[in-house]
Amino acid sequence: MRREHRLNALILGLVLAVPLWAWATSEPFTITLATRAVIFAIAGVGLNLALGTGGLVSLGHAAFFGIGGYAMGILASHAQTYTPLFEWPFVLEGTKSMPVIWLLAVAASALAALMIGALSLRTSGVYFIMITLAFGQMFYYFMISWPAYGGEDGLSIYVRNGFPGLNTLDPIQFFALSFAILCAVLYLVTRLRASAFGLALGAARQNEARTRAVGIDPYRVRLLAFTLSGAITGLAGALFADLNRFVSPVMFSWHTSGELIVFIILGGVGRLMGPVLGAALYVALEHHLGGLSDYWQIYFGAILLGVVLFARGGLIGLIVGRETAHD
């Protein structure tokens, strides 16, 4: 078993062990923190498919995180007020069912990613970064100016949506649900990266002309990766909204996009578990350093700087070496 695989198993084990310990010692807040880390990790794994495997530095992934969040918020708010979303051409009611909300969140964010990707992938480099940022900010300002769903104040949800057979109000059960989704997403991404599609995506990142010469259209491969990436991030957004029972335009802001990138850089760009380690560390440092100072991000910035300067493969690269895994 390779060192990176052993480390991956250890990281996943720790992410699972901390809330179990908190559950055993009746520390529900720690379970909520762990759930927050797991949800951020899902979003980071989604972005890492585009950024790490495909080399697409998107500064607009908050748009998909926010769309997933608002898909949950809008459906749940209509369900709690017993008003339909619309009545023509057919009646669409709200819902408190997590599977239905996830399905719609994934569909909406995938559609948005497809449209944003179709336009922005015609550019590359700094232009791609700026266009994705612009799309993210467009969504942000749109949500601020949309009073029907709270505008700048956001939207509070007074219920926790339901999942068959689980009490989702119980922190450990909601954590278990989020953790299971993280595992499913990691499995999906592992399979994708090992598939001909994943290899073509990696090949397109290395050399576009060479990729074309073997019959691969880099644009199509990247668009599919960007869409899948957006869909996974959207699913994380729906879970995040359920965790907080609140959605606000902040989910769409470029700060959120930046945080997702930070998770990946901290853990290791292109590493399967990079965003998981990055998100877990970020949430832990946010909690502990945030308790010491309001300006905790200065200290966090110093840590990030150290990782960028001295551990080019992120923390996972620092531990196991620079070589990235493909299997």
């Binding site: 001909a196 990729t211 493909h326």
Partner: protein, 229 residues
């Protein structure tokens, strides 16, 4: 009927004209050598054939279809396999991943490539960037074959390699010619080896095709004039 046909092709890099009047044809199963000194337009001609560079004048026909406006990936799917100059593999991928990424349905699969280049079969899980130059070249040929082409273009496939590796690659090219019926357009400086495998040659001089014919008919005087040998 020719599988590949270029008629009076011209091409530019920005405002600089690189090809002025190139005509050549490759029939199915034929091995054609594209020759000329450095800077005469051989690699530019290859780029035009593979649609990595668009021709401004003339026509490029592949299997009777005009390739004008066809993007590079569609040209590859149509059956043009390129082994680019400089052993360009996907360094971060393993040998097997390089092959899988390019794979298309057809007789060429991983087993067939491993049979052609047993060295690659021994290094299946090794990263392409860690292979020797010769092994990378074998991988580049294997990757092009995995696209199951009808025309294989080898651009300076043996340049800079150790003699023993060059012999292996020339032996593989001879096998491809003898056993597969694949049309091959080969660019190389080794006149002796080209004489062994090529049916015909096309010589380029300053972006123009200036001589076409069987290599046996290339006199020492012409070889010195056009090739400097």
């Amino acid at each position: 009927m020719s599988l590949l046909r270029l008629d009076h092709v011209s091409a530019f890099y920005g405002a600089s004209q690189a090809l002025f009047d190139v005509s050549l044809a490759v029939a199915p199963g034929e091995v054609v050598a594209l020759m000329g000194r450095n800077g005469m337009g051989k690699s530019t001609t290859v780029k035009v054939i593979c649609r990595l560079l668009r021709n401004r004048g003339g026509t490029v026909l592949f299997d009777g279809a005009d390739m004008a406006g066809v993007p590079a990936h569609r040209a590859a799917r149509a059956g043009i396999g390129l082994v680019p100059e400089g052993r360009r593999c996907f360094g971060n991928l393993t040998v097997r991943e390089n092959l899988i990424a390019a794979a298309r349905k057809g007789p060429w699969d991983e087993a067939a490539v491993a049979a052609l280049f047993p060295r690659l079969g021994e290094r299946w899980g090794q990263r392409a960037s860690s292979l020797s130059g010769g092994e990378q070249q074998m991988l580049a040929i294997g990757r092009a074959l995995m696209t199951n082409p009808r025309l294989l273009i080898l651009d300076e496939a043996t340049e800079g390699l150790a003699p023993v590796i060059r012999q292996e690659i020339w032996a593989a090219i001879a096998r491809l010619r003898g056993e597969t019926g694949l049309a091959i357009l080969v660019i190389d400086k080794s006149l002796a080896e080209l004489r062994r495998v090529a049916d015909r040659a096309v010589v380029l001089e300053k972006g123009r095709s200036v001589w076409t014919g069987p290599l046996d008919a290339l006199s020492p005087a012409l070889a010195e004039t056009y090739l400097g040998v």
